[in-house]
């Protein structure tokens, strides 16, 4: 319980840090966003939009601390202002559409990568010096050193553009309207394969290496000798005894990698024009849509914090030592 309270406190501080950063940046950076925007939208800004900018930044002639509290109030009420590039729509509505696609892509690729990588890691450690260990490992390290977006470009070019096996962009076919029909779900899956595949390919090597190295540490434990002496089948010792105990460090890494995946996913989404948060962030940056940009950053950060909190809860279930501490 104390562990969870401590973690919860930490997430609150981190969230406050991100929110504050969001306030401090536009107020202290040399490139004043308001001026940049006035210049960029020369004469095309309507009075409502001007107000939206002021509202988004809490820009007013009030003293800074007062502006800060006004801003905090807005954040707490979920009021992030109005998007400049998709004008009358509030930022939150714009983000809501992106969020579902990001979560879909993120979860699918993270879980696939985690399962595949850990399984390969177990096999590599179990048959040390075998082909999985000696061939797959360097190969995956090599693939892992490709920049996410470049691997995505490569796959897009060869598999989608040259061979035409997969669609080149978007989350579902332009001719379909979102529904729960078989056609639509099939189209979504087909559009998911390449972006998710890219992320899985790049992330798998790290999981494998982590698992392999922790298992090597676990292999000398008495309970493995015991299990072997009992005559349990090999696969059961491998998965139920060795892997289960070696999984903990990777669960921690799972939580951290949610953040990393988001970073990688951002670029993958941009290359495939996959309409998630990353693609929206990119468009917001290109359109100088500062309110949208800032809120996206905040949302991504809060999402990562929430995901980490869930992993912490999972950790308590997995490791009895944390519960008593």
């Amino acid at each position: 319980m104390r562990f969870l309270v401590r973690r919860l406190g930490f997430y609150l501080v981190a969230a406050w840090g991100a929110v504050t950063l969001n306030f401090v940046l536009p107020h202290t950076m040399p490139g004043d966003p308001a001026t940049t925007m006035f210049a960029a939208f020369r004469g095309r800004l309507r009075p409502e939009q001007l107000k939206a900018i002021e509202q988004a930044y809490g820009l007013s002639h009030a003293p800074l601390w007062q502006q800060y509290f006004t801003y905090l109030g807005h954040v707490l009420r979920g009021d992030f202002g109005i998007s400049l590039s998709q004008f009358p729509a509030p930022v939150t509505t714009v983000i809501a559409t992106g969020l579902q696609w990001s979560i879909l892509l993120g979860l699918v690729s993270l879980i696939l990568g985690f399962l595949l990588g850990n399984l390969l890691g177990v096999i590599a450690a179990w048959r040390r010096g075998g082909w999985v260990d000696s061939m797959m490992q360097p190969l995956l390290i090599f693939i892992g050193s490709f920049p996410y977006f470049w691997l995505a470009m490569l796959l897009l070019f060869f598999l989608a553009f040259r061979l035409g096996w997969f669609p080149q962009n978007h989350a579902y076919s332009d001719y379909l309207a979102p529904s729960l029909s078989l056609d639509f779900v099939g189209s979504v899956l087909k559009h998911l394969i390449l972006p998710a595949g890219t992320i899985v390919l790049v992330s798998i090597g790290g999981w494998m290496l982590g698992m392999r190295n922790t298992i090597i540490g676990v292999l000398a434990e008495d309970y493995l000798i015991m299990a072997e002496a009992k005559g349990l089948p090999q696969w059961r010792i491998m998965l139920g005894y060795a892997a289960r105990n070696a999984l903990l460090p990777n669960v921690t890494a799972f939580g951290m990698s949610i953040g990393f995946i988001f970073s990688g996913q951002l670029l993958t989404e941009i290359v495939f024009s996959y309409p998630g948060l990353g693609y929206q962030l990119f468009q917001a940056v290109s359109n100088l849509d500062y309110p949208l940009m800032e809120t996206l950053f905040l949302m991504i950060t809060l999402g990562v914090l929430a995901a980490n909190l869930i992993v912490d809860l999972l950790y308590v279930r997995l490791d009895p030592r944390v519960r008593t501490a």
Binding site: I141, M153, G217, V304
Partner: protein
């Protein structure tokens, strides 16, 4: 690794146990370096990494000799495929790809190196201070470290860079500010375990200053981790820099590997089938990152006695085929 003292004033150095050991001086350190270089080159993975890296470094340094002239100059018809005249073809703006690649290496590699050094310094400073002083200082620094760790990197970078004037300097500053946290955590935990060692206790008792204990007693004993941290940071930087420039957040008129990819995408080299506009730069980034990763992984093999032992037993087992390996890893200890 054993303790090293570079104190030139004392000829003999008493240890806590009371024995007198000969002074460990500069000559010994120089020998150590030779041992390390030998070990790295003796490891196949590490040697391959070092060679790849040297080739790229040489190409970058010699760019004005190999491919003289302004790399942004229009030289031929845009999007020409590789030929004897243009070994890697031309870009969508009619520039020579090979020339761009070579000149781009200069910026990309130096940014990776500089950010690697800066983040390592920052992480060492934060991690060591945190570990050495403990208490409130530790709590506070750890809180800051963890916040930096958990805030997703690339979105933060995108936000920061979009507020600052575009250019290599901005990228260096932003990547250094955001990239130190992981290293700080690793260095802190290593320094914490070293802090409990007898030689640190001895240094405290003999009245050495905190500053001196941190930098002369503890730091030299964690060089391998510091180096691994530097390499890891350089790998991250080379990818992140390319990513930011690919998004158009760098100085798009400068020639770097990232901006080459930016222009390839913007001139739709992809949709015109001009693979040579984006394959060379991406492959170079991947190769440099891979070379650095190879060095890092083999550093682990070289310094981790367990992994070293695996190799030795495998060699022994090859000799005596009748023996079967037990699954657990043996541990070798130095005969000395």
């Amino acid at each position: 690794m054993e303790v090293q003292k570079n104190d030139s004033e004392i000829e003999v150095q008493p240890t806590l146990a009371g024995q007198i050991t000969p002074r460990v001086g500069l000559t010994r350190t120089a020998g150590q370096w030779r041992v390390w270089v030998g070990r790295i080159l003796g490891n196949r993975k590490a040697a391959a990494g070092v060679i790849i890296l040297l080739i790229f470094a040489l190409a970058a340094i010699l760019a004005p000799v190999i491919a003289p002239g302004n790399p942004t100059k229009f030289v031929d018809i845009p999007n020409l495929p590789p030929s004897s005249k243009h070994l890697l073809g031309t870009t969508g703006q009619g520039q020579d790809m090979l020339q761009q690649l070579l000149w781009g290496a200069r910026v990309s590699l130096s940014v990776a190196f500089i950010v690697g050094v800066l983040t390592t310094l920052l992480s060492a400073a934060v991690g060591m201070t945190s570990a050495y002083f403990g208490g409130m200082v530790d709590e506070l620094l750890q809180l800051i470290t963890n916040i930096f760790l958990i805030i997703p990197g690339l979105p933060l970078l995108v936000i920061l860079v979009s507020f600052l004037p575009p250019g290599a300097v901005t990228i260096v500053i932003v990547l250094s500010i955001t990239g130190w946290s992981w290293g700080a955590r690793v260095l802190r935990s290593q320094a914490l375990s070293l802090r409990e060692k007898d030689f640190v206790a001895a240094a405290i008792v003999s009245g050495e200053s905190s500053w001196r204990i941190i930098f002369r007693e503890i730091l030299p004993n964690m060089w391998s981790i510091v180096v691994a941290n530097f390499i890891g940071s350089a790998i991250y930087t080379i990818g992140a820099e390319a990513a930011l420039e690919f998004l158009g957040l760098g100085n798009v008129s400068a020639v770097t590997w990232g901006t080459i990819l930016y222009w390839a995408e913007n001139n739709s080299g992809l949709l015109q089938g001009a693979w040579w506009t984006f394959v060379p730069a991406g492959l170079s980034i991947a190769l440099v990152a891979f070379a650095l990763a190879l060095i890092n992984y083999s550093m682990d093999e070289i310094t981790n006695p367990r992994l070293l032992a695996v190799k030795e037993t495998r060699n022994v087992l090859k000799k005596y085929r009748a023996l079967r390996a037990s699954r657990a890893t043996p541990v070798v200890r130095d005969a000395s």
